[in-house]
């Protein structure tokens, strides 16, 4: 009799493609938008700048700035509920490390499944790991916005330029149905 070779992985999990995006997309005019920064260098400024542009150009009426204390972990349930209860849409990032890019995508998926349109911003050096996280959350193909790597060393003016560049994609993610 020949012994089988045992699988050390616990079995390959087949990623299911479940619905991700909440059907009700954001109406930016008059909306309250949460800006959830993850403590990475320049993340707060990047999101703050996006918030200003959304107010100036898309009629967003208010922004709510929040900090995710532990960038490697999923957003705590109470913080997710607070933002879901008070905001019409969420922008989160900037995913520019191995764990925080993945967890930013996990947060984006969690907000969408909670009924809140969410735009995630990752540096383009972390697309593979961000996509892998989407698969782990049964959200294969989940679309997030990218900005060129690196982000942490940019000057404030360079960060503003980046926000400007990614604005349209963020708007598209928050408002488009697919």
């Amino acid at each position: 009799m020949v012994n089988a070779i045992l699988d050390p992985t616990g079995g390959v999990r087949v990623a299911a493609a479940k619905a991700v995006l909440t059907p009700r997309r954001a109406q930016l005019k008059g909306a309250t938008v949460a800006l959830l920064e993850n403590t990475k260098q320049n993340a707060a400024l990047f999101l703050d700048e996006l918030g200003k542009l959304l107010k100036q150009r898309y009629g967003v009426s208010a922004t709510v700035a929040r900090t995710k204390k532990s960038f490697a972990q999923p957003i705590p349930a109470d913080q997710l509920e607070e933002l879901a209860a008070t905001c019409d849409a969420v922008i989160t990032g900037v995913g520019d490390c191995g764990s925080c890019s993945a967890s930013a995508v996990a947060d984006g998926v969690a907000f969408e499944r909670r009924g809140i349109p969410a735009a995630v911003i990752c540096s383009d050096a972390f697309v593979v790991t961000a996509n892998a996280m989407a698969e782990l959350r049964d959200a294969k193909g989940y679309h997030f916005a990218t900005t060129a790597h690196p982000v942490a060393v940019l000057t404030p003016d360079q960060v503003r330029k980046r926000a400007e560049e990614v604005l349209q994609e963020v708007v598209a993610i928050l408002t488009a149905r697919s």
């Binding site: 045992l6 050390p8 992985t9 960038f71 972990q73 764990s99 892998a132 996280m133």
Partner: protein, 347 residues
């Protein structure tokens, strides 16, 4: 008994490569009877969950750990040490957080104390950082295979190490209790010397300090402190950096009246840089989250910034041969927990 069949072995090894289950080196293919021998060494049920990564929705069972320990080349009697090392790492906040996925590519430092070192043949003397000793080499490798296979953290995908560090998945040292003048890290944490235990943390790197040049203990400490205070390793306001002292350095310090606690206090006092030195490398400013960056204006150039403030940030371990005065600075990725896990569960 017939002779082992190398062609069958090759086929089984290649099968594991094709499945993506290896760290690049050949693994021992795990069979049910062999895994059962490992499981017989622990009182824990095979389905017991011994680690979770909430952010990935992943968990590890005792049986998965056993399969990976087999694959790493462990003997069945090593398995309780693997479980203790794993438990020690799951007690490390950075390892539970994003450590395994980090661009830093950190490596576990596993420290084994107590009688199990002699019983199983863990090296604690010459060449302690390896290679050459099966328990040291395979226990560390088992941890890496568990992370890869059970947590599913593979290089270039969920593992995003920019370069990683030499020695990842191979740093497992016995403490040289026999030639240390001080209490071991396990005894320091409250265990008795007859209890075998494993401590672990994640490292960013190791760097040697060769000081065979003086009999003055403070000069040796100053040489160590200079390496400990490298600006390249500094990211946040403070850091955690320890030393694995060779017996000669440890004995010299003890002879001059330094307890282990005195050594830690000396490092807390002296490991740091002036703000001018930090400015030179763009690390004189601090964000509100405690991350360093280049400050916009130069202030207080002569101010000496200490990089550590508590003994918990400075693990002091003794290992290696007594044949030369060279020690290793070990850079902790998060914070040394100082909490050894007894081998075979709590005594």
């Amino acid at each position: 008994m017939s002779e082992p069949d190398p062609d069958n072995a090759r086929e089984a090894i290649e099968y594991c490569y094709e499945k993506g289950w290896t760290d690049g080196l050949p693994v021992v293919p795990a069979s049910r009877p062999l895994v059962e021998e490992f499981l017989a060494r622990t009182a824990l049920a095979p389905e017991t969950v011994i680690g979770r990564l909430e952010q990935l929705g992943k968990q590890v069972t005792v049986e998965q750990a056993a399969i990976n320990a087999v694959m790493a080349g462990c003997r069945p009697e090593y398995f309780p040490v693997v479980l203790a090392a794993w438990a020690a790492l799951m007690g490390d906040r950075a390892a539970r957080g994003g450590g395994w996925q980090s661009t830093s590519g950190p490596a576990p430092l596993i420290v084994v104390n107590g009688p199990v070192r002699g019983e199983l043949g863990f090296n604690s003397t010459g060449g302690v950082f390896g290679p050459g000793f099966r328990p040291n080499a395979t226990v560390a490798r088992a941890i890496g295979l568990i992370v890869r296979n059970a947590f599913g953290i593979e290089p270039h995908v969920l593992e995003q190490a920019t370069q990683g560090l030499p020695g990842r998945w191979s740093i497992c040292i016995g403490e040289n209790e026999e030639e240390s003048p001080w209490e071991s890290v396990a005894v320091e944490a409250g265990l008795d010397e007859h209890t075998s235990a494993v401590s672990a943390t994640l490292l960013r790197t190791c760097e040697y300090v060769d000081n065979r040049h003086t009999q003055d203990p403070e000069q040796v400490l100053a040489d160590l402190a200079d390496t400990m205070a490298r600006t390249g390793a500094l990211i946040f306001r403070e850091e955690s950096v320890g030393v694995v002292l060779c017996p000669e350095h440890a004995q010299m310090l003890a002879k001059a009246g330094f307890s282990k606690s005195d050594v830690k206090s000396w490092f807390i006092e002296h490991v740091g840089r002036t703000r001018t030195e930090l400015r030179k490398v763009g690390k004189d400013g601090l964000s509100e989250h405690g991350v360093r960056h280049a400050a916009e204006t130069a202030e207080g150039g002569e101010v000496f910034e200490r990089f550590m403030s508590t003994p918990a940030q400075v693990p002091v371990i003794v290992a290696g041969a007594r044949n030369a005065a060279m020690s290793m600075v070990v850079r902790v990725f998060g914070l040394w927990t100082g909490t050894p896990v007894p081998v075979g569960g709590n005594p």
